[in-house]
Amino acid sequence: MALRLWASSAANALKISSSAARAAPAYSISRYFSTVLDGLKYSSSHEWVKHDGSVATIGITDHAQDSLGELVYVELPTAGTQVSQGEAFGNVESVKATSDVNSPISGEIVEVNAALNEKAVLINESPYGDGWMIKVKPSNPSELDALLDAGKYTKHCEEEHAH
């Protein structure tokens, strides 16, 4: 059908599975494959957030980095900047395209991953680890409740590609 003509080869190869933070995938959701970690929360625009005490770490998901292709450049704000839930805080460049990265929560940026300055591809290599983008002090922790857990995010990705 018309959609399949438009879907990228990367998207066609996707499988999504869930895994504990350090274990192998716990279950396979469907014909798509990207790592989705349990214990994180996710936005519908493919960012993840890990809330740990008073700080939340934010990055883009494995599905996002795979769909974007090799990242060659990243633009991030500086520490002290305020971010708002659902709003862009920076962007990444891949395949001749800049793509906004949106914050899943509101708050103040307390740290930015400077390693991405020289090696944007860290986001592709380790989207949930060394490829983290910003750390935020949440201004409204209840916003995390509105985000998707691993299962719901996986389902969201499947539904996006089913259309």
């Binding site: 438009w6 001749k96 800049t98 793509s99 259309h163």
Partner: protein
């Protein structure tokens, strides 16, 4: 998103506003595109037939010292712009025809707002425009006849919208290419060819610019209800929006010559 007219079998095509210009300065065009992308929810096609003066346009992450022959540019006062989208460096002039699509992510059923997905769709659209004039290919994200590039494109994607803009070489002045260095990051199919061997002019393949621009409108009508819009309406000011596309000053360029240009994580306003 505005609804368009019902097409065959009752399918309603979304509306696309068509803005056509001739000779508009490329900086003004890019500012317009950025505003329409970020401040409207409508679908747009912008066609600008030629621009003056000849201007170098770089992508958001381009390093001037690696891509531009700065001394001749300063000597000849060639404007240099850093645009808001990704991609490489071009020099544009009266021989360039610009075509831009700005769409909401739901405008095309099932199209995900990721670079390769969007380019796959635009590649198919342009196939309809060019197939009868030459051996058209989307080659490593460039538009080419056979293995010679005639259209360079770039994209910018937000949460719910995207822009895909292309500078098509209807014709070009070979001397202008001397202002550009051969980039380190080049597509494999370039095979280290110089500009002369790598590029081609559309006028060698198509009878007129108007055949080209009419072909685009015709191809768009398969997906959209295309509605021409008055230029003045499109350019109505939004004083609150500050575009990120910037014209580099001679002082900026001189500073790059005198210091080592670093690729820092750029500060953005969140």
């Amino acid at each position: 998103m505005s609804a368009g007219l019902a097409g065959p079998r009752g399918a309603v095509r979304p509306l696309m506003q068509l803005v056509t210009m001739s000779g508009a300065p490329i900086l003004r065009q890019l500012h317009l595109e950025e505003r329409l992308l970020r401040c409207t929810g409508d679908n747009w096609c912008i066609i600008n037939d030629g621009t003056a003066p000849a201007t170098i346009v770089m992508g958001v992450s381009g390093r001037v010292s690696e891509l531009v022959e700065i001394q001749p540019v300063l000597r000849d006062q060639v404007p240099v712009i850093r645009r808001f989208s990704g991609g490489g460096t071009v020099i544009v002039d009266q021989g360039t025809v610009f075509v831009t699509f700005i769409c909401s992510k739901n405008a095309i059923a099932g199209l995900q707002p990721f670079p390769r997905d969007i380019m796959s769709w635009t590649g198919q659209l342009y196939e309809k425009v060019f197939a009868s004039f030459g051996e058209f290919h989307l080659l490593e994200n460039d538009y080419a006849f056979s293995h010679r590039k005639f259209g360079g494109n770039a994209q910018s994607i937000t949460r719910n919208r995207w822009v895909h803009h292309t500078s098509f070489l209807w014709d070009y002045d070979m001397k202008n290419m001397d202002y550009l260095k051969i980039p380190k990051r080049a597509p494999k199919y370039r095979l280290a060819r110089n500009h002369t061997d790598f590029l081609c002019s559309m006028k060698e393949y198509m009878p007129s610019r108007s055949v080209f621009t009419e072909g685009i409108t015709c191809a768009l009508r398969d997906h959209f209800t295309v509605q021409p819009m008055e230029l003045e309406t499109a350019f109505s000011d939004d004083k609150e929006f500050v575009p990120s596309t910037k014209l580099l000053s001679p002082q900026d360029l001189e500073a790059i010559i005198s210091s080592k240009e670093t690729h820092t994580v750029h500060e953005v306003q969140a």
